[in-house]
């Protein structure tokens, strides 16, 4: 059984009289422990797909299952709890709360767990250590570079030890060097820690790091990674 199972998903947005059919019968499996890059032209539905997997949005019809749980059928309250336990999410730009330090930002997901203050502290130190920012714990987001901010966001995405880490163009606003750092980090998370990673990117360098590449075009996949060994 795949970690993520998307079956016959339709997604339609209506803006006034306008109807946008993003997906018409999409089906996809993402295996546990995989590192997948999702590419495709702007407007092809990449972000929409991540949102459906994370339960931030609902399919018009069809099912989305993650780890056996049917995400597309949960109530908002169930979704909130489920997401805090199973999904880490990193966005392209806005990720950190500007009034909280790196440490406090990373702590947020743990406030939803039953961990004690000491256990939380330890986890935060480990997570920030993994992303190489244990010396910047008390810095505010504006005191960090773009690349460092994204690494803090990744630390926050993994701190609660989720099965699945979803990233929507995490290197979109970073220079080449910072991008490389972030990508190396993701590869390590996948290798060493066995995290399942699904990353949306336009960057060929980024998709090169992934073990599987998916191309989304007009709402359907043109799969390449599995064809080219």
């Amino acid at each position: 059984m795949a970690l993520v199972e998307i079956r016959d998903v339709y997604k339609t947005f209506t803006r006034g009289a306008e109807r946008i059919d993003v997906f018409t019968g999409l089906t996809l499996d993402v295996e546990q422990g995989s590192f997948t890059a999702l590419m495709g032209p702007s407007g092809s539905g990449k972000s929409t797909l991540l949102n459906l997997i994370a339960g931030l949005d609902r399919p018009t019809s069809g099912t989305v299952r993650v780890n056996g749980a049917e995400v597309s059928a949960m109530t908002p309250a169930q979704l909130a709890t489920w997401r805090s336990e199973h999904v880490g999410f990193v966005f392209q730009s806005f990720n950190l709360l500007p009034v909280l330090t790196a440490f406090q930002n990373v702590e947020l997901p743990l406030l939803l767990t039953r961990l004690s203050k000491r256990e939380r502290d330890e986890r935060i130190r480990i997570a920030l250590g993994v992303v190489g920012l244990d010396d910047r714990m008390d810095h505010y987001p504006r005191q960090l570079s773009g690349g460092q901010e994204q690494r803090v966001a990744i630390a926050r995405a993994i701190v609660a030890d989720p099965t699945l880490v979803l990233l929507d163009e995490p290197t979109g606003q970073l220079d080449a060097k910072s991008s490389q750092e972030v990508l190396t980090l993701l590869a390590r998370l996948n290798d060493e820690f066995g995290k399942t990673i699904l990353i949306v990117t336009h960057d060929p360098a980024a998709s090169g790091r992934a073990r599987r590449q998916l191309h989304l075009e007009k709402g359907t996949f043109v799969e390449q990674g599995s064809l080219v060994p």
């Binding site: 806005f94 406090q104 406030l111």
Partner: protein
């Protein structure tokens, strides 16, 4: 409550001007609220403290104040030997037939206006009957002389009230021989002279009331029953404490209603201020809220977080309001006591309970103002807010 309060405190600090203005709006309302209720409080407590549980006030039947009452000499002399009265060291019954008149005096500060001041003619026993009355300067008026003892709250507000000075009214001079306090009560706004001097000076033939002290506070009902049943006169018998509490009721409740009315109108303004500030806070923090929601914080935690933020701002306003109002405590002001149309001076009275009420009022305003913005925050569409 999952979202840390640090987040709210720091967010408030990130927009100091709008936070401060909102808090200030609430502070003003709370200050006015506390101030007006302190006024009502002070007025009521001045009158309530005037009366003693152990004293009895006898008025003509149907009279609702001493002003409109009259007790003739014959009745007064029968009442002088009422069996329930306490006896002093000199074995004389503690009974005081009293003359109660109101005279117009010019004020020191506002020379154009006149104020009605109570002149009470008392017997020698009055000083034992009213145990809260204490001569603080000089000596009691001597019998047979036109001498006055002036209540502490009148001193300094009316001319010639210093001990040794002479006041002129009712066509004769009155020497001020003492000042007295009476525990902050309405007596402090009166002038006392001897009843037998005051009555002829005011061309009166009768007393207005007879006050006496009960030997046993439990003897009131019995005294009331026997005096009101007595065929030789028709009188109403009041417990002094109840009589004064009654007098404070009308003006006291008008002051309270006024306080509530004025502060409610102001509160509407302050609440709208909070609504505005919180809506602005929510719309400028849409992406942050969306991040919190994607992390798994529930919509109701977001709602609680913004409600708390609004309540904290309001609480800060409440504390400032208390600090603004506090200097009023003890400040002396005066009003006309509508039961006697005479002036009564009293002090603003701010109690811990009143401060607490002010703080609660502030938090309620904050919660009311914060509710709709907080609800909007909890309904932020995550996907759109992060696009």
């Amino acid at each position: 409550m999952k979202i840390p309060i640090t987040y709210n405190l720091r967010s408030m600090r990130a927009r100091p001007v709008s936070t401060a203005l909102t808090a200030l709006g609430i502070a003003l309302v709370v200050a006015v609220f506390i101030g007006m209720l302190a006024l009502a409080n002070g007025f009521a407590s001045a009158l309530v403290r005037t009366g003693s549980d152990q004293n009895v006030l006898v008025l003509r039947k149907g009279a609702d104040s001493e002003m409109s009452s009259s007790i003739d000499r014959e009745t007064a002399s029968i009442l002088a030997s009422v069996p329930q009265a306490a006896r002093g060291g000199d074995a004389r019954a503690m009974v005081s037939p009293e003359v109660y008149v109101v005279i117009a005096l010019g004020r020191i500060e506002d020379t154009t206006g006149m104020a009605n001041v109570v002149l009470r003619g008392v017997s020698e026993q009055a000083w034992q009957v009213r145990q809260n009355v204490k001569v603080v300067e000089g000596r009691r008026p001597a019998s047979g002389k036109n001498e006055l003892c002036v209540g502490a709250k009148l001193v300094g507000r009316f001319p010639n009230t210093v001990v040794g000075q002479t006041m002129h009214f009712a066509g004769r001079p009155w020497e001020v021989v003492c000042h007295f306090t009476a525990g902050g009560s309405a007596f402090e706004s009166e002038m006392w002279g001897e009843n037998e001097q005051v009555m002829p000076a005011m061309r009166g033939q009768v007393f207005q009331s007879v006050s006496f002290r009960l030997a046993d506070p439990g003897g009131f009902e019995e005294a009331k029953r026997s005096l009101e049943a007595d065929k030789r006169f028709t009188v109403d018998v009041h417990r002094e404490s109840e009589f004064y509490a009654q007098q404070s009721q009308l003006l006291g409740s008008i002051l309270r209603i006024l306080a509530v009315l004025i502060t409610s109108i102001m509160a509407v303004g302050a609440i709208f201020g909070a609504v505005n500030t919180m809506y602005a806070a929510v719309s400028s923090r849409m992406p942050e809220i969306a991040v919190l929601l994607t992390l798994g914080f529930r919509p109701r935690s977001v709602l609680a977080s913004f409600l708390i933020e609004s309540a904290i701002i309001a609480l800060i306003g409440g504390v400032i309001g208390c600090l603004l109002a506090l200097p009023l405590n003890g400040l002396v002001t005066s009003t006309t006591n509508w039961a006697s149309f005479s002036e009564i001076a009293f002090a603003f009275r701010i109690t811990p309970g009143l401060l607490l009420a002010g703080l609660i009022f502030a938090v309620v305003m904050g919660m009311l103002g914060g509710f709709f913005p907080a609800r909007r925050a909890s309904k932020v569409p995550v996907v759109q807010a992060l696009r």
